[in-house]
Assembly symmetry: C2
């Protein structure tokens, strides 16, 4: 449990915004720790940071455990670094209770880029907050965004609800999988064509790799038939992340996807609106839950007692509270 | 997608309430299907049903996949039936996209009790609603509660967030597990003593069974030291559900737990209040999500555009909407 802390004073907020703007990684790391701890009163600071941001390319990378996400991201970072781009990586693991940059994984991942001032790598885990993790990831992205990285990668495990929510923060989503038999691809079909802008078949040395690529291509063709309004056809890229093979190709496709968005200002604007609306909803749910748990105000005891006595009902109370928002 | 339907007319609502009151199982099954389909406009009916209910003992049964929950529940139902009690079972599976009573499992489970008018068994699955499943389970319990069963069992898989939410609908929670090595019990420790009122070690013929019982007893002792305000010590029961062994003993402990609650009216009242508050919150989140997705009203385009343009921010909008509730 975090101790209740007072909000940052306005002068502190200015100093923090300036420090982040100047690329101070320690300030950044410290802020993400405060976010992970669900420290209260961060809102004024996050508001200032949000308003200072919005210029960054955010790439999402997702896939099941063991498909090679962190290796691929590490190689992608290397490709971008060679081009002189400054890159931040936020790895979010909804299944892990550990975090705080103390994870062994972070240290291993950092190794390759540890002396590089142009790279920031950080993982966040659930710490039991579950539903709040997507919200916390959004807060952390707000911090990173204010630092003017050239690219931010947000990496997460799997295709559950919280992962999908986390991926909504990204403009371009890379969905990673390993070669597998036909039936498995079919089973996975439902979700993935909704999520991915680029598909990667990693471990391309596997005998089923080309088969998986063909199956993905067919699924994409089908999905585009069903959604003729979509103007982007997700490419399928083969990689062998451990050897760096195909990674430059993937980086090219990521550029291509951003270029496509830039050439479609109306689509890009809709995406930004959609993301803003989703983010407001996510924060509203979070704040509402905090209020309800605090037991202050919203639900007075006498109303609750009337529900317990069945003189009223939970539907009436919930609808009444919602109606007040109008 | 459910077609939008008009709300039940007041006369229909009265007829449905009467039919349920008289124990009409087809009406009940049909209503649960409507709930599963997230049919709109069910609220007036559910309100009437909620106000007609509240007299039922709800027992929750939870545990990992494969521990033997459905077998145990089936045997428990048999014990209760011998005593002349009428029993409803609602099995909720957050991991399965299938449902509607068409699940093979339901038919297998029904077999033993298929000719019995005193038993109702039904499963519900996620159908992609995820966060909404606990809410839907609460709606289904509201329907069952209005039918005046003697006992309702709500059964769910695992110990994740949505399962925990589902278990909050029950007054007595039975946590089922299989015998396992010492370390596994330790790893599972964190959550389970918070959730269970009665612990069951199923497959009692297993050589590790007594070891697991002892470990659970130790964990319970520790948990009670940390929470001396708790007046109920969860018993640990050994069962061999496939052979019906220990099931009558378990039924006795369930009675004991209800008797304990009845003898502690203040604790019982706090539990009911807590549950009502939780239920209002759950419905509020659900209704809010519906409203936000409908795109009507709450978040006008011009406000969203100001967030996209970074002239405003999502925190300000969310806080503004929340403040309107006060």
């Amino acid at each position: 449990m975090a101790l209740p802390m007072s909000a940052d004073a306005p002068t502190d907020i200015c100093a923090i915004v300036r420090a982040l703007n100047a690329g101070d990684m320690r300030t950044c790391a410290r802020l993400i720790t405060r976010i992970e701890r669900s420290e209260p009163n961060l809102v004024p600071l996050l508001q200032a940071l949000y308003r200072a941001g919005g210029h960054i390319r955010i790439v999402g990378v997702t896939g099941s455990p063991g498909v090679g996400k962190s290796t691929l991201v590490s190689k992608l970072v290397a490709v971008w670094r060679k081009r002189g781009l400054r890159v931040a990586v936020l790895a979010v693991d909804p299944s892990s209770p550990y975090s705080g940059g103390a994870v062994l994984g972070d240290r291993l991942r950092m190794k390759e880029h540890s002396c590089d001032e142009g790279v920031f790598i950080r993982s966040m885990a659930s710490r039991g907050q579950l539903g709040g993790l997507a919200k916390a990831a959004g807060d952390a992205l707000t911090v990173l965004d204010a630092m003017h990285w050239d690219v931010i990668v947000i990496e997460t495990v799997g295709v559950g609800q919280s992962e999908t929510d986390i991926m909504r923060h990204a403009s371009v989503v890379v969905l990673l999988q390993t070669p597998m038999g036909g039936d498995d691809v079919q089973a996975a079909k439902a979700g993935i064509t909704e999520i991915g802008d680029i598909f990667v078949v990693n471990k391309s040395e596997h005998p089923e790799a080309d088969h998986t690529v063909r199956q993905l291509e067919e699924m994409i063709t089908l999905a585009l038939c069903l959604h003729p309004e979509k103007t982007w056809r997700p490419p399928v890229v083969k990689t062998r992340a451990t050897h760096g093979e195909g990674v430059a190709d993937l980086a090219g496709h990521i550029d291509g996807c951003f270029a496509h968005l830039a050439a479609q200002p109306e689509t890009a604007r809709l995406q930004l609106r959609d993301r803003a609306r989703h983010r407001v909803g996510e924060l509203l749910h979070y704040m509402l839950e905090q209020r309800l748990r605090s037991g202050v105000g919203l639900l007075p005891e006498n109303l609750i007692d009337s529900v317990v006595a069945r003189a009223s009902d939970p539907y009436a109370l919930a609808a009444g509270l919602l109606a007040r928002m109008d």
